[in-house]
């Protein structure tokens, strides 16, 4: 080891194959940016899938977006942007050796990540209950907990919740490749509408009606029966689950790395102002945020 190595003392964080801390930091950073470029291309394949399908079959996306709750998507966007802010602040705290603040900022970012996954869980489980799933698993149906033992016949139907008169039952709707969905049943309330609680108004929901996490209540009231399902509507849900699923896996990986960072913090890794680990996680987390900004726009905000 010659004197020209290590300018100014022997930093314990400096690996022996680097000239200086600055060179080490720049090399690490370049490696991270290369990784992030591959991440963009990783998601890129799915964005190509999306663009080609939406370009050729826009009606599938207009139909499918009815089942996504814009409010929940916007909430998740706000949560992720805020977490991007806290992790950017964490980098600043690490640079300035504000260790206690750094700890709380990492925890705040993790809480945001857990909130994001919690909202995703609400959205996913609502779709799971209604069979709005990918490819071959796509089998839209009523949630069995919400259905009642009412035989769908034309005429008056009395249940504990409401009295309705079924005025029309459409033929069982044929969808692509010989699969069936629930018949579209149009019914009217016999009792004055005001006396029936909104949630109980319909005992036999239209095939696509669902609880929070799916269509907005206003849309259900206004349309009652969803627009006719276009052929291959399942493609939308394949794209939805692949894109948000891959993104969700990245959020989970981010949470795991943040647990490790807290471990490093307790070990005292950041006491010397060596902030590279925080910096790299922050770069990764910002890319997760950027991808979600596009996913929110492209999946939820279709009219």
């Amino acid at each position: 080891m010659t004197a020209q190595h290590h300018d100014g003392g022997h930093d314990p964080n400096l690996a022996h194959h680097f000239e200086s801390m600055d060179q080490q930091r720049q090399s690490t950073k370049l490696g991270m940016w290369l990784f992030l470029a591959t991440e963009i291309l990783f998601f890129g394949g799915l964005f190509v899938f999306y663009t080609v399908y939406r370009g050729n079959h826009p009606e599938i996306f207009v139909f499918g977006a009815h089942f996504l709750d814009t409010a929940l998507g916007a909430l998740n966007t706000v949560v992720l942007i805020f977490s991007s802010f806290t992790i950017a602040w964490a980098v600043r705290a690490a640079q300035l050796k504000q260790i206690k603040l750094l700890k709380w900022l990492i925890i705040a970012t993790m809480l945001c990540a857990f909130t994001f996954m919690g909202v995703k869980y609400v959205e996913y489980s609502a779709k799971w209950k209604h069979g709005l799933l990918w490819a071959g698993s796509y089998n839209p149906h009523l949630d069995h907990e919400e259905t009642h033992d009412v035989v769908a016949v034309e005429g008056e139907v009395h249940t504990a919740e409401a009295d309705v008169e079924i005025v029309e039952i459409d033929e069982v709707q044929h969808v692509a490749e010989g699969e069936f969905v629930e018949p579209i049943v149009t019914e009217v309330a016999i009792e004055p509408v005001a006396e029936v609680a909104d949630s109980d108004r319909s005992t036999i929901a239209p095939a696509a009606e669902g609880p929070g996490g799916l269509a907005t209540p206003e849309a259900v009231v206004a349309e009652d029966v969803m627009p006719v399902e276009p052929a291959n509507a399942r493609i939308f849900f394949s794209i939805y689950f692949m894109m948000t699923g891959l993104h969700g896996i990245h959020v989970l990986a981010g949470i795991a790395i943040m647990f490790w960072l807290l471990h490093c913090l307790r070990r005292g890794d950041f006491d010397t102002g060596h902030f590279t680990k925080i910096d790299m996680l922050a770069l990764y987390w910002h890319v997760v945020d950027i991808i979600w900004i596009y996913l929110f726009l492209l999946l939820y905000l279709i009219d």
Binding site: M21, D22, R25, Q26, K29, L30, W33, L34, L36, A37, T38, I40, L41, G44, G45, F47, V48, T51, V52, G55, N56, T70, A74, T77, V78, I81, F82, S84, F85, A88, W89, V91, R92, Q95, L96, G273, F275, A282, L283, H286, D289, I290, I293, Y294, F296, L297, L301, D303
Partner: protein, 108 residues
């Protein structure tokens, strides 16, 4: 708007970080509210425009690209350039034979 530590590392100021966060929140509100208006085919481009401005702000300030070595930004932006190439060629290809697959395409 910014400071440096003794080792020459760029430290973003709190004021800058908070400002960028607020602008990103406003951008999100704008993206959602703009969908209530019908600009026809322009809707998607307006949405993509706002999203791209947000992504650029995140890259420049939260990810420090503004003060970083330009080569890092070049690496990252080149990924998007290749992605556009990928999407562009895929769209050209699929548009080329849609009229064979779907009679009467493009739909009026």
């Amino acid at each position: 708007m910014s400071e440096h530590t003794e080792s020459g590392v760029h430290v973003a100021s709190m004021r800058l970080l908070v400002t960028i966060m607020i602008v990103l929140m406003i951008g999100t509100w704008l993206t959602v509210s703009v969908t209530h208006f019908d600009f026809g085919f322009l809707n998607i481009w307006i949405g993509l425009g706002i999203a791209t401005v947000k992504a650029i702000l995140v890259g420049l300030y939260f990810m420090h690209l503004r003060w970083d070595k330009p080569f890092n930004a070049f690496v990252f932006v080149s990924a998007f350039a290749f992605l556009f190439l990928f999407i562009g060629f895929a769209m050209m290809d699929t548009a080329h034979y849609q009229d064979v697959i779907i009679p009467g395409w493009p739909l009026q």
